[in-house]
Symmetry: C2
DNA sequence: CTTTACGTTTACGTTAACGTCAAGCACGCG
DNA sequence: CGCGTGCTTGACGTTAACGTAAACGTAAAG
């Protein structure tokens, strides 16, 4: 249902149906429709992330052209969203990865940010682990109840 | 800064400043202000969760009276929020814990829901672990850069 | 009995994260 | 050249999760 949704657009401008355009010798690029489908989001969502400065695709004329870098970022964005981070915060985080690290002060700032982030993430790690553990406990009780029903 | 925010209200109606009211012989109860402060949320937030049916405190006259059950739920709600779940979804989850498990069909439904939830949570677990790992990788690179700077 | 400190309801405001038109370019095909 | 398909830019709408203000109730304290 995911890939069959694309009413065969091949033969028009790009040969492949889901991959990057055939572009021998250069780095591969994608259209907005392709990245949107690949990450299972809408065009609007992708453009929204651009509005907030989370991605900044190349412009060829008026059209957006997406590179590997943009796809990497999109992946990070969506994972951040799954973890419940607001987009603005996600932006500061992934910008960190591309931040200049030339001077020592910058590097130390980045290292400090990394530590903050890690603490945040480790809190969430505990939360998830606790939740999974409680769910397991609950399942055990349910299976007990089921056993009681069987013995009657 | 957290507990000093309470401008000494003791001696008024309850003896303890942060604990449940003195109520010997019965189960402890809390006011909305007490649970709000304990979980570091506003009254409005607590009432909002009640509006959505996430908690349903006792009413003594017009006033809300919170029991241990309500505090347990509030904890689950806030953890769910930290994990990025929408409140409506959180409601269906914690309602699951109090759901009737008398008949076999009900039990099997509950067990099915548990499985769905676990899959969801395990996805998030992977997300968090991946994020932490990448952060570690990034930190290593930064420390490398720092070493390069030191050698000059 | 008035004050004070909380608590309650009602209702409109706000922010984030998009959804949903509307209207216009741009290009490749018949 | 017109047509269809996809891309682009506004701009307004929507939902979730509260914030905030108004206006009133109430119970202990002075």
């Amino acid at each position: 249902m995911t890939s069959s949704a694309t009413t065969d657009r091949s033969g028009t401008r790009a040969a492949a149906e889901a991959g990057p355009r055939a572009d021998p010798g250069s780095s591969p690029t994608w259209t907005i429709a392709q990245v949107a489908e690949e990450f299972d989001v809408t065009h609007r969502t992708v453009r929204h992330y651009e509005d907030l400065g989370l991605i900044s695709p190349e412009r060829r004329g008026t059209q957006r052209v997406y590179h590997r870098r943009d796809r990497t970022r999109l992946g990070l964005i969506l994972r951040g969203k799954r973890l419940g981070f607001p987009l603005e915060e996600i932006r500061t985080i992934i910008d960190l990865f591309d931040a200049p690290r030339g001077r020592r002060t910058q590097l130390e700032y980045v290292l400090g940010q990394i530590d903050e982030r890690r603490n945040d993430l480790e809190q969430r790690l505990r939360d998830v682990q606790d939740a999974i553990a409680e769910l397991g406990e609950f399942e055990r009780r349910c299976r007990d109840d089921l056993g009681q029903l069987d013995r009657a």
